[in-house]
């Protein structure tokens, strides 16, 4: 068991545990916070996968922005949801069964993949993954277009969200 395997297992446990807590806790704020924990676990995984930039971005974007947004949203709609009453739908067993079925299917597919158990190949030190990523994002023949489209998407989402949320003021 090498160090990284240990770290992997720890973070996997962290992720799965907090994910399960997210979908099962009664109080929504706890769910949000558990989500933060899960995201933190994922960030660690990225670190393990030597995608440092992504790990940090995961933390900044997910935890820094999205989690806080969730918490804000929960706060804003707290008055009604006294965290009382059943949190899950009556048909949750069917959902669980279906989840398991999908899981089984996916796992089966994964195991069925050829050469799935191979290990990662060593990245040569002098390769600067962050620089390469930067290059990929902006060089036209690589992924400049999706990058631009994503920016436009964000702008649209920004305007849309502002407009929808503030809609009530005008009436």
């Amino acid at each position: 068991m090498t160090a990284s395997q240990i770290v992997f297992l720890l973070s996997a446990a962290l992720i799965i545990g907090s994910a399960l807590m997210v979908v099962t806790t009664r109080k929504l704020v706890h769910a949000a916070l558990w989500l933060v924990a899960a995201l933190f676990g994922v960030a660690i995984l990225y670190g393990l996968l030597e995608a440092g930039f992504l790990a940090v971005v995961q933390v900044v974007v997910y935890i820094g922005a999205i989690a806080i947004l969730f918490i804000f949203a929960v706060m804003l709609t707290r008055k009604e949801m006294r965290d009382t009453g059943p949190q899950t739908r009556r048909s949750w067993p069917l959902a669980a069964l279906l989840g398991l079925l999908v899981l089984a299917g996916l796992v089966f597919l994964v195991l069925d993949m050829p050469d799935v158990a191979r290990t990662a190949v060593e990245i040569p030190a002098e390769v600067d993954t962050v620089g390469a990523l930067g290059q990929a994002l902006v060089s036209p023949e690589a992924y400049a277009l999706p990058f631009e489209v994503a920016s436009v998407l964000l702008l649209a989402a920004l305007i849309g969200a502002v407009y929808i949320a503030s809609g009530q003021k005008k009436e």
């Binding site: 990284s4 992997f8 996997a12 992720i15 994910a19 997210v22 979908v23 929504l28 989500l35 899960a38 994922v42 995984l45 990225y46 996968l49 030597e50 995608a51 930039f53 992504l54 974007v61 997910y62 999205i66 947004l69 969730f70 804003l76 709609t77 009604e80 949801m81 949190q87 899950t88 739908r89 959902a95 669980a96 989840g99 999908v102 899981l103 994964v110 993949m113 799935v116 158990a117 191979r118 290990t119 990662a120 060593e122 990245i123 390769v127 993954t129 990523l133 990929a136 994002l137 990058f147 920016s151 998407l153 964000l154 989402a157 920004l158 849309g160 969200a161 502002v162 929808i164 009530q168």
Partner: protein, 103 residues
Amino acid sequence: MNIPLSWYLILAASLFCIGLYGVLSRRNAIAILLGVELMLNAVNINLVAFWRYLDPAQMGGQVFAIIVFAVAAAEVAVGLALIISVYRSRKSVVADDIDLMKW
């Protein structure tokens, strides 16, 4: 560095299914969004894992992950805005109540 790729994939699959369960079973709209977030993260894990294990030189995996980030952020922003405006007009966040779009 001897973590086999299958571990990551299985982990992502399980995270994905937990998220799926969360989406299908939770009554609160925001909880559903939480589920969606989990699923998105599962996908991201897969992407980066594939990047790392199949061909680190090709930055496709990472770029795609970043784009998923962007989309996730946009989706959450708009989703929550919608939920809040629905909450303001219909005073309820339960997913089942928002069922105007019937035939």
